[in-house]
């Protein structure tokens, strides 16, 4: 279904094949969140991956950085229709964090300071597809944008890139996280416009 809107021509711009359907390019960086911005300090920051056996793998802030911080340039697509191209980030690849984690579970619940959760398939976090991001556009991540550290999974809608990340819990089934329980898509591929379930 597509109804032409009387009198609407839109802002004329070159078509951009890097923009998924329904997305509009922005230059600034909008903020969206469901509640208060948590106050998270790097000196007490603790990141944990918990596997199905209950084993917890912990990293302090310094231990995270010691894994190796890499430069990342990616396009970001938010379910609220904005996209930001060629964002520069710095962060630690989740491949490094999962190096010594033994798990048979196929899914992960990302958990954040402040209580936010979002679910992802484990295979979407590996092979150079996801990071714990600590800097964006040359600056430490602002608290509003998820600082000191957020998940960065740029090939999915940006709500999957959980702000204020504190850990990942392995799970055998694809249980819904926070927005997913409120009707957002379980997976969230921007190129298939998987906005809502």
């Amino acid at each position: 279904m597509s109804l032409t809107t009387r009198g609407f021509s839109g802002r004329r711009r070159e078509p951009d094949d890097r923009l998924p359907p329904g997305q509009t390019l922005v230059q600034r960086w909008p903020v969206l969140s469901a509640g208060p911005t948590p106050n998270v300090h790097t000196d007490t920051w603790d990141f944990v991956i918990r596997d199905e056996g209950g084993t917890e793998h912990h990293w302090s802030w310094d231990q995270l950085l010691a894994l190796g911080v890499e430069d990342i340039t990616v396009d970001i697509h938010c379910v609220t229709h904005w996209s930001k191209l060629d964002m520069s980030w710095r962060g630690v690849s989740l491949d490094k964090l999962f190096e010594n984690v033994e798990t048979e579970d196929a899914y992960v619940m990302a958990r954040s300071y402040g209580g936010y959760t979002t679910n992802l398939p484990l295979e979407d976090l590996l092979d150079g597809q996801a990071w714990i991001a600590i800097e964006a556009e040359g600056e430490p991540l602002d608290p509003e944008h998820g600082g000191p550290a957020r998940l960065l999974v740029p090939h999915l809608y940006f709500w999957k890139s959980a702000k204020w990340i504190r850990g990942l819990t392995m799970m055998p089934t694809n249980d819904s996280g926070f927005w997913e329980q409120y009707g957002y898509h379980l997976y969230g591929d921007p190129w298939k416009e998987e906005r809502y379930s």
Partner: protein, 242 residues
């Protein structure tokens, strides 16, 4: 009211009128619209003759099955809002997708706890929806709205809010640039002290809905936490994503 699956609908504009100097009220006739809970939003999609599309989200001001009212602020340098504010006429058709969002929502009959609404500018739209739903349901929870707005001319739903105000719904305005004649406070930004004196106290355990720009929401929520409100009692929505 149960969760309703979002879907595409064709809406016909039945009325468009200035709401503030840079906002419009659109009344839409949407025969397939199922109604929506107070606080939800929807997407409006515009399509150019060559197929180019632009989609933006807007909060729903009032909704009942078959009818939706939106309050839309014109964003400087916007693409969709200037069209909706200035170009759309009664009789035009628009595509809408919704209802969306069931988190930043107030439902009648949930609890007797007080509800504090805090709005910055056009952030009042979903909060007005909650106040209207509260009155329509004759819900006994005490309601308060603190509304920060630049001048009296920029107040959304002025007459409707005045009509809703009463024993179970108090409205306080903060005028940031120009107060009405005879107003007992000079115009100026909301402060922590004025926030504390015009909202339910932490010991009353209000559920708090805050909607406005990111700067407004960040400032207000930090004060609410300092005043002793619990983080899990504070729900936020920010506009200006696009």
């Amino acid at each position: 009211m149960r969760h309703r699956r979002p879907a595409w609908h064709v809406a016909t504009v039945v009325e468009t009128r200035p709401e503030t100097p840079n906002a419009v009220r659109l009344v839409l006739d949407v025969p397939t619209w199922p109604g929506s809970e107070a606080g939800t939003h929807l997407d409006v999609r515009l399509t150019a003759p060559d197929g180019y599309q632009a989609t933006r989200s807007y909060s729903v001001a009032t909704s009942e099955p078959g009818r939706v009212v939106l309050g839309i602020d014109e964003l400087p340098d916007g693409e969709v809002s200037p069209f909706l504010v200035r170009e759309v006429l009664a009789g035009d058709e628009l595509e809408i997708h919704g209802p969306l969002g069931s988190y930043f929502v107030w439902r009648p009959g949930q609890s007797g706890r007080p509800v504090q609404l805090i709005a910055g500018g056009s952030g009042v739209v979903p909060l007005y929806a909650m106040a209207a739903a509260h009155a329509a349901a004759s819900d006994p929870s005490p309601f308060r709205l603190l509304y920060s707005v630049r001048t009296p001319a920029y107040v959304y739903f002025r007459d409707e809010l005045a009509a809703l105000a009463g024993p179970s719904f108090a409205v306080d305005h903060v005028y940031t640039r120009q107060a009405p004649p005879g107003w007992d406070e000079p115009a100026g930004r909301l402060t922590r002290d004025s926030l504390a004196s015009t909202t339910f106290a932490p010991h009353e355990r209000p559920r708090i809905f805050v909607c406005g720009s990111t700067g407004f929401v960040e400032t207000v929520v930090a004060w609410l936490l300092e005043l002793g409100h619990a983080a899990h009692d504070i729900l936020t929505e920010r506009f200006g994503g696009l």
